[in-house]
């Protein structure tokens, strides 16, 4: 039947049907998030207010970035166990580089009883911008190293990143043996509140009082950042030849090779981009908490939650299908579940149980395709 309908020529309706069928995982995740979030706001005494949105946006951002980070290697059928470590390490760097001290901040390091002075890092606005760039570059560099170890060391991604992740945590512990450091207060305020607060802090749009600005002033800054990063980094990557090669490698590496695609470059790019996204998450977490903290359990939890987000967002762990956008929604679903615990006063100890059940349900839906396999040997390939 379907064949006949297609034979009439590719109509718009068919195109839409095909796109929905192909993105059923993402669509499900988006719908599930919407339902959960509306329910949450209905139950919340101050639901549907800018304050609640801002608070949620701050809580979601870092995990959403890590979910995006995890998506890229997964698409190339690898797993990156170092995303949490990269986040933590970049956060520790940020707690040195984003102090915003006027006239610059002296950089010094106390290791093994040595007092090393590393010069002065510039302060002020330009110093902060430079600090952000350096932090993101550190994240991308960590990812690049992961990619090179995987490609040139011919080591499986899961074990390569387990090792490099430990190294990155080690660096973070060197930098911040105990939580500390400082982040510029204005930067903290500007990025973790609404657009109106942002404009007021950086003195644009009449300090946010411009009449045309009012309708959007309630939007949380982290939400805007998320959309910007998705649109300016992920979407172009997905439509680039390299991004296409990442999907191709995850789908059928042999066929990708036979088609003359740059397989090695694609894998390195996937891990580098993962490092960049993880760096974004670490940077924000540091800004949000105004400190650097080499928190090992937190790094591990973020890594595992990023994998869960990827799966809930409809990306196959086998690679080749899915999208970082889906993973953002996967991360938001995980977070909204924890919000419910606050609203309904459920014992927080139950939270892992519920998160686990949701993850199981999501994975089961993805596994339904197994029932269609006609040659059971294919299940093992």
């Amino acid at each position: 039947m379907r064949q006949r309908r297609l034979a009439l020529g590719p109509s718009m309706l068919d195109d839409v049907a095909i796109r929905v069928r192909q993105n059923v995982g993402i669509v499900t995740a988006v719908l599930l998030f919407c339902v959960l979030y509306v329910l949450y706001n209905l139950a919340h005494p101050k639901g549907f207010s800018s304050a609640v949105l801002v608070q949620n946006g701050d809580e979601i951002f870092a995990l959403a970035m890590l979910a995006m980070a995890q998506t890229v290697p997964v698409l190339a059928s690898g797993l990156d166990l170092s995303v949490g470590a990269v986040m933590t390490m970049v956060g520790c760097f940020a707690s040195y580089l984003l102090t915003g001290t006027a006239g610059g901040a002296p950089l010094h390091l106390d290791i093994f009883g040595l007092h090393l002075s590393l010069g002065t890092f510039p302060g002020g606005i330009s110093g902060i911008l430079l600090g952000i760039v350096v932090c993101l570059a550190i994240g991308a560099l960590a990812g690049l190293i992961n990619g090179c170890v995987v490609v040139y060391g011919r080591i499986q991604p899961i074990i390569a990143t387990l090792a490099t992740g430990a190294v990155y945590i080690g660096i973070a512990l060197f930098l911040r043996p105990t939580p500390g450091g400082k982040i510029d207060e204005d930067l903290n305020w500007a990025l973790t509140n609404s657009l109106g607060d942002f404009a007021a802090t950086v003195h644009i749009f009449d300090d946010g009082a411009a009449s045309w600005f009012a309708p959007v002033a309630w939007i949380p800054v982290p939400f805007v950042l998320l959309v910007l990063i998705a649109l300016l980094v992920w979407v172009p990557f997905r439509r680039s030849v390299l991004g296409r090669a990442v999907y191709a490698v995850g789908s059928a590496e042999g066929a990708a090779y036979m088609s003359g695609l740059p397989i090695d470059r694609a894998k390195i790019a996937a891990f580098t981009l993962a490092g960049f996204f993880a760096g974004c998450g670490g940077l924000f977490l540091a800004i949000q908490t105004s400190s650097g903290n080499a928190d090992i359990p937190q790094a591990g939890a973020y890594t595992l939650n990023s994998i869960a987000s990827v799966v809930i967002g409809g990306t196959s762990l086998l690679g080749g299908t899915g999208s970082a956008i889906g993973s953002i929604f996967g991360a938001m679903i995980l977070r909204v579940i924890s919000f419910f615990f606050r609203i309904f006063d459920i014992a927080p100890l139950l939270q892992p149980l519920f998160e686990g059940l949701i993850l199981l349900a999501a994975v089961s839906i993805g596994a339904l395709g197994v029932l269609r396999v006609r040659n059971t040997l294919e299940l093992f390939r």
């Binding site: 297609l6 020529g9 796109r19 003359g260």
Partner: protein, 515 residues
């Protein structure tokens, strides 16, 4: 070399090309040429060297010796993309598509149309639509994922992908094997158009009627050598079959017992699966070795997998000793007394890093266990017996099975199954990549097992082996059993003719290549 080609105006010229794989000769001193505007068929049995030939031309493998000239200048392609860049494009048997990407993505994968540095999805889609229209298959929506297309449509996409590379020399390796007959006509029309545009076309097919309909010229390969090249109509079908045979090696086979009436052990009635197996009915008696013949990929492997419970959604009846069985999994098949020596011993037959003894007992753990525990004494006893019975050459039984030679590994696979004392033994090309000595041991063992009352179903790509070992051979074509050969009928000529699904038993001349 007889019938050397006139090489004036040749577009592609190979001279003295040789290639060995791990000491096994695949091609030996091959001279070959093809011209623009001609469709050139390459013919030969399984393993005649056709695949190696095109892999060398397409840059997938490098020859050990010899040179290649394209349009008058020396070339050597290090990768498939280098060959593509020179206009040499190959449509391989194993599809080179990425199943999770869309048709449009796949068609333009090598060099997608770009806008501002990014892939232009709309242009890419138009391009896919155009190329599909050139083949006459507008009904494939370029947005569809390749994974969701049936095999026949995937092959069309593969052809569209090749066309998009603007080939000067197009190689089709069994590229129509999965197509529906309507699509085959469309592909023929497309090839005729390319030919008129001056493209050189190399066409590898096992389907003689296709070759008759399409080819302007044909070359026959045998045992890695180029035997003869002739123009359309110069050779009859029977003569071509003769050229393809002509083997020189003589292997010793154990004598076949006189044919007596046997009681059927395994009976299949109208077995069908997913359009790959088509109403197969077959009897295998106790004490009988029945061969499965035909060209590669006509459903023989699927048939064995179906009997062993690997395939889902099978229709038809399977009877073992008058009792109907429904093999739903290999475990069920095993308990029904069925054993399978699988196609790929390295992935499906053995657990390579595990020890020889672990591999030997893995299918018969019940027999050597008391309660939940494996009885070490029984285990080593069983292992010793198996090694002695098949004369497996080993250092110690605790060595990893990967340390054994191919022939001894295959013996371990067989010994593993013999421990389950099977009534029905399915063999999937068990002598592939095995030395002659071990082959002969396996032949003897097969006959011995049959004499002890087992029913053996034996798939082999080697026709000589089928003739030497089997009491009866069922030839498969396109998922069906087209002929059963027995006794005096069991000749190479008959096997090849049935495998090609042509009637070569007719007197020479009547089956001519469109004389």
């Amino acid at each position: 070399m007889p019938g050397a080609v006139v090489t004036q105006g040749a577009f592609l010229e190979l001279s003295g090309i040789s290639k060995r794989y791990a000491g096994v000769r695949a091609l030996e001193g091959v001279d070959f040429a093809c011209e623009r505007g001609k469709i050139h068929a390459v013919l030969g049995e399984n393993g005649a060297g056709k695949s190696t030939l095109i892999k060398i031309i397409a840059g997938v493998v490098q020859p050990d010796a010899g040179s290649m000239r394209l349009a008058g200048s020396d070339v050597s392609f290090a990768t498939p993309s280098a060959a593509n860049a020179a206009g040499v494009v190959c449509i391989f048997q194993e599809l080179s598509l990425m199943p999770d990407l869309s048709v449009a993505d796949n068609v333009s994968i090598a060099s997608p149309p770009r806008r501002f540095g990014l892939i232009d999805a709309r242009a890419q889609r138009r391009r896919a639509e155009q190329l599909l229209a050139e083949i006459g298959c507008e009904d494939v929506n370029p947005l569809m994922r390749v994974r969701d297309l049936p095999l026949s449509r995937r092959q069309i996409v593969e052809i569209a992908k090749a066309l998009g590379k603007k080939p000067q020399l197009l190689i089709l390796d069994e590229a129509t094997s999965a197509l529906t007959s309507a699509d085959v006509e469309k592909v023929y029309a497309m090839l005729a158009r390319l030919k008129s545009e001056g493209v050189a076309i190399l066409y590898i097919s096992h389907r003689m009627h296709e070759v008759e309909a399409l080819a302007d010229r044909a070359s026959v390969f045998r045992n890695g050598r180029h035997i003869e090249t002739f123009d359309k109509g110069r050779r009859s079908t029977a003569e071509i079959v003769q050229l393809m045979i002509g083997r020189d090696i003589a292997t010793q086979y154990p004598p076949k017992p006189a044919r007596t009436s046997v009681k059927p052990m395994l009976a299949l009635d109208n077995l069908s699966w997913e359009g790959r197996l088509d109403r197969i009915s077959l009897r295998v008696g106790a004490g009988e070795i029945v061969g499965l013949g035909g060209l590669d990929g006509q459903g023989q492997k699927s048939l064995l997998l179906a009997l062993f419970g690997v395939l889902r959604g099978i229709s038809g009846r399977v009877t073992v000793e008058d009792r109907e069985v429904r093999p739903g999994s290999p475990a069920v098949a095993k308990s029904a007394g069925i054993a399978l020596v699988p196609e790929d011993r390295k992935t499906e037959g053995l657990m390579l890093p595990m020890s020889i003894s672990d591999n030997l007992v893995v299918a018969s753990l019940d027999a050597i266990s008391t309660g939940p525990l494996v009885d070490r004494a029984k285990e080593s006893e069983a292992v010793k017996r198996a090694i002695a019975r098949l004369q497996i050459k080993i250092g110690a039984a605790s060595d990893a099975v990967s340390t054994l030679s191919g022939g001894n590994q295959q013996k371990v696979v067989l010994a593993k199954w013999l421990m389950t004392e099977p009534r029905i033994i399915l063999l999937n090309d068990p002598t592939r990549g095995i030395d002659v000595g071990t082959k002969q041991e396996l032949y003897r063992l097969m006959r011995e097992l049959a004499d002890q009352g087992a029913a053996i179903l034996f798939y082999s790509t080697d026709y000589d082996e089928l003739i030497g070992c089997c009491d009866r051979v069922a030839i498969m074509y396109d998922g069906r059993i087209v002929r059963e050969l027995e006794g005096d009928e069991l000749t190479e000529t008959n096997i090849i003719a049935s495998a090609l699904n042509i009637d070569a038993a007719a007197p020479a001349g009547t089956g001519a290549v469109h004389a």
